[in-house]
Symmetry: C2
Subunit: 196 residues, 2 copies
C-alpha cells in the first residue's frame, strides 16, 4: 500500500524545504544529506539519482492531491459554486499546512530543462485544470454560471486568480492570510459569474 518508505518521505520533505528556503540551485546532495544527518552516498540507497528525488516528490504530491480533490468531486453539493469553494478550501488549507510545497509545484520554470520533471508539473496543473473545467461545464449547463464566456476562458480566470493569490502569499513570506485572501478572490469571482 505504502508507495514510499519513511526514509524516502523524509528525504523528499527535506528536499522540499531546501528548495523553498534557498531555491533549487541550493539543493545539492551534500546539503540534503546534511539536513537529514546522513552521508551523501546514503541518499543513493533510497533514490537512484537526484532527479528521481524530485520526480518522486512531485509524484507524491500529485497522488495526495488527486485523492483529496477526487473525494470532493465525488461528494454531492448544493451548487456548483459550493463545490468550487470546497476545492479551493482544500487546496489553500494544504498550502497553509505545508507552505514549502508551493515553491516546488508552482515553479514550472525551475524544471524547464528536464522533460520528466516538466511532465510531472504539467500533470499536477492538468489535474486542477480538469476539475475546474468540469465544474464550470456543470455550472453553465445547469444554468448556475454565466455563459457570457467560454469554459476555457473562465477556467483561465479562476485558476489564474487563485495562483496569483498564492504567489502573493509566497512573496510576502507567508505573512499574508492565504485562506482569507483566497476566499475573497473566489467569492469575488462567484459574485460575477453566478446567476441570481
Amino acid at each position: 500500500m505504502q508507495q514510499f518508505t519513511d526514509r524516502q518521505i523524509e528525504i523528499m520533505e527535506a528536499a522540499t524545504d531546501r528548495i523553498s528556503k534557498f531555491g533549487i540551485q541550493n539543493l545539492t546532495i551534500k546539503t540534503l544529506a546534511q539536513d537529514i544527518g546522513l552521508s551523501e552516498p546514503a541518499l543513493y540507497r533510497h533514490f537512484k539519482s537526484k532527479n528521481e528525488i524530485l520526480i518522486s516528490l512531485l509524484e507524491y504530491f500529485r497522488t495526495e492531491m488527486q485523492n483529496r480533490i477526487g473525494s470532493i468531486a465525488s461528494k454531492p453539493t448544493d451548487t456548483a459554486g459550493d463545490r468550487l469553494r470546497a476545492i479551493f478550501d482544500s487546496q489553500l488549507q494544504t498550502f497553509t499546512n505545508k507552505p514549502e510545497i508551493v515553491s516546488v509545484i508552482f515553479a514550472e520554470s525551475i524544471f524547464h530543462f528536464d522533460k520528466s520533471l516538466t511532465n510531472k508539473v504539467s500533470e499536477i496543473m492538468d489535474l486542477m485544470q480538469n476539475n475546474i473545467n468540469a465544474n464550470i461545464k456543470d455550472g453553465q449547463k445547469s444554468g448556475q454560471y454565466t455563459t457570457l464566456m467560454g469554459v476555457s476562458t473562465l477556467t483561465t480566470i479562476i485558476i489564474g486568480s487563485m495562483r496569483m493569490t498564492v504567489l502573493k502569499w509566497k512573496i510576502s513570506g507567508h505573512k499574508s492570510n492565504l485562506i482569507k485572501d483566497g476566499k475573497a478572490v473566489l467569492e469575488g469571482i462567484l459574485k460575477m459569474i453566478e446567476k441570481k
Copy 2:
C-alpha cells in the same frame, strides 16, 4: 543616453535565449560565450560577473516596460476599460515579439536564492501592479467598474488571469495565440466588471 553598449545588449539577449530554451541551470558563462562566439573571459570585459548579466537583463526590460506602459498611462482614453485594453495590448505584443523574455521575468522562482535578482523581478511585478491598481481605482471612482469587490482583489484577478494566459502560451511552446487568448480573457473580465 545609451545605458548599455551593443555588446552588452547582445550578451543579455543571448542569456535570455539560453534561459528560455534550456533553463537557468544551463546558463553558464561557457554556453553563453559559445552562443555569441566569444571566449569566456571576453564576457568579463563587459560584465563584472554572471549575476550582473542577469541583473542588467532585468533592468533593461524594466526600463523598457516603464517607458512603454508610462506612455500609455499618460495618453487620454475614452474609458478605464479602454486604457486597460491598451496596457495589455502593449504587453502581449511585446511578449509575442520576444517570447524568450517571458521565461525570465515570470520566473520569480529561478532567482529565489539571490536577493538582488528577486528585487529586480519584484520591481517589474510592482510596476504592472501599480498601473492596474490605478486603473481600477479610477474606474471604480468614476462609476465605470463594479464596486462589488475591493481594489486589491480585482487587481489580483486581472493580473492573475493575464499571467495564466501567458503561462499557458509558454507551456504550449508559443503555439497558442497569445493575443487572441489574452483579448478573450480581458474582454471576459470587462464584461463582468464594467457597469452598463
